[in-house]
Symmetry: C2
Subunit: 355 residues, 2 copies
DNA sequence: AAGCCTGTGGAAAGCGCTTTCCCATGCGGT
DNA sequence: ACCGCATGGGAAAGCGCTTTCCACAGGCTT
């Protein structure tokens, strides 16, 4: 005896409008409806049928089923974007650039925030892989954590074997296409500029040391100073967390520890804003007594008081280039590295060292 | 005669690791593997098998197929977030709040930027619908455009019939759960504050009039002034585009048109920053000659010079509440409206009117 | 000792779509 | 007039997963 089985598959079969209902209504086969409504698959469809199908879809209010499409095609129309923090203007700028490119390719963007946790980054990469994202842009910098690199490499490899592409901002020590911002050179230029202004007591308000970006920027400063015959003492480097309030606290600490400092190099603009605030609290004139340089040139840098001298990074362009790299080139395949130079923007927060 | 058909379905069948390969390797059925690796579906699985399956998945490097899961379950693990512009700090703050909630629910977030184009907003809503997003947060304000409302309502209805939920920030004239920021009241409070300080020539640097948010804020000012027996003349309102440079230009225009103005109310902080810049260029002292008030209280508002008096909106909280609204309540269903009050933050950019 | 749950495992029917193969046309070439 | 041969349309086999229904053990009741 054959018993009628009720829907083994799941799904609320509440008269959902599917391709087959459209086909039925238009009096054509499923195949034809598919060819008309979604990419034709290299096949032409007659005008009459074509019009009938469109009309039917319209009347029924048909909305295609993305997951089903992705399953059948074995590729979704989604790209992933992994950042440290969406509220950080550094990352929103990169995101804006990337999203422009995604739009041009008609792709949706999934954004994930890791809050600088390597584990979370890896987790999100895996989830994006599960979502069959076509490409993923790792916009946060890499971590200096040793175990991290190999696990990241493994994830990336798995992802690419699956047909996805990965782009990096900054070089994470793994083979993948990358955009390389000139952290080192930009930082070096800032340091040399300060030196030329006569500053000999230069301190650094540093970001989280676990970040590759921070290491690069710090190295740039170190090397520049060394090239000038000077040296960056450990006690002139205070670590903060890339936020304004972290920068303020660190600067206060710095001033206490080392009151003779005449120049502060903050490793991002947010912390530079905090440094400026701390200096104001401590009644130290900028730039008469202390010069301040930031990094990134966020839109708000020019509105700080005094207007912030900073190392400019074309962030939107970085996001754009990175995604282009993997979306617009066939996977034919040798990882590329595109350098993006940083430039020093001189404004009012720097001046000659006091004597 | 039966001919062997070669893979009618698509997909690179390159030894992809699927659930069934895991099951095979573990020596269990597909059903068991599914129950172990993905939600058990209310069913228990013995410990021995459970362990075997995990081990097999581990060894094979199994990554689940999200689209397939979404198809079978008729629901994805994605939420959508539609904003005007990701680089605008107003929206990044909302996004940050929303993403926190999404993370707590273990959901991925698809972000779309409309650049204030109603058509694009509708398009993205449709695409999110196609992606079978579980929920969508429309974080940009609504448009005053007449046709828009009914089309939006239709989209939302279709989306909800499909099992999705929609939340709005601001009331778009459609029935859906919404978080309602106190645009009107906050703006009114700012206007009254200026009035109390003795200002009688108050001008407004307005945002795009097509936005509901702008209409509300403007109305708040109008009503407050009317309540005080004054009136906001059309010539004292200049429209800009919510950017810093737009604010600057508009303020310059305003100053030319109406040199006697003693207070400027900018409808967001970005434009207030531009106003401050314009005033500086024109050598008008703030607040001695002209007072300035902004709106939103972005993190950078306190760093402007002088520190900006502004109407604070708890943006992260707004994003958080909005997504909570639809994710954490059963669809049992009467649209809720959660008001979120704005508060005036007095800083240094406002002072008594000059006499 | 017979009857029954209860707890576990498996078979298989879809979810909605893409795409391959095959078939019916209508057409021009020789 | 006959034979290809494009051309456009349809049938159907999956894509990888979830979930329903069934089967079968054991451990309990009565």
């Amino acid at each position: 005896m054959v018993k009628a089985r009720s829907r083994p598959g799941a799904a609320a079969t509440t008269g959902a409008v599917t391709l087959s209902s459209v086909a039925e209504r238009a009096g054509v086969s499923l195949a034809t409806a598919s060819r008309v409504l979604h990419g034709s698959g290299g096949r032409a469809v007659g005008d009459a049928l074509r019009a009938r199908v469109f009309a039917a879809a319209q009347q029924l209010g048909y909305v295609s089923n993305g997951p089903a499409q992705a399953l059948a095609r074995a590729s979704s129309s989604v790209v992933g974007l992994v950042v440290h923090d969406v509220a950080d203007p550094y990352f929103s700028a990169i995101a804006a650039g990337a999203m422009r490119v995604a739009r041009a390719h008609d792709l949706m963007v999934m954004v994930a925030a890791t809050f600088r946790d390597p584990e979370l980054e890896l987790e999100y990469l895996a989830r994006l892989r599960a979502q069959r994202a076509r490409a993923v842009l790792l916009a946060g910098s890499g971590f200096t954590d040793p175990g991290y690199t190999s696990r990241l490499a493994a994830q990336i490899e798995g992802f690419e074997r699956q047909g996805g592409r990965v782009a990096l901002v900054g070089q994470h020590g793994v083979p993948a296409d990358a955009v390389l911002p000139g952290h080192r050179e930009g930082a070096a230029e800032a340091a040399r500029y300060l030196w030329e202004l006569g500053h000999r007591r230069i301190a650094v308000v540093c970001g989280p040391r676990a970040l590759e970006t921070v290491a690069h920027r710090l190295d740039g400063i170190r090397e520049a100073l060394r090239g000038l015959g000077a040296d960056l003492a450990e006690r002139d480097v205070v670590e903060a967390d890339f936020t304004r309030s972290g920068g303020r606290t660190a600067t206060l600490e710095l001033l206490r520890r080392n009151p003779g400092v005449t120049a502060i190099l903050a490793l991002n603009d947010l912390m530079a804003a905090g440094a400026l605030a701390a200096l104001r609290e401590e009644r130290r004139a900028v730039p008469a007594e202390v010069s301040v340089i930031g990094f990134d040139d966020l839109p708000q840098a020019a509105d700080l008081h005094p207007a912030l001298t900073t190392v400019r990074l074309p962030l939107e362009e970085i996001g754009e280039r990175a995604l282009r790299l993997i979306l617009e080139e066939e996977p034919g395949y040798a990882p590329r590295a595109v350098p993006v130079p940083a430039t020093l923007v001189m404004r009012a927060s720097t001046g000659p060292a006091p004597r």
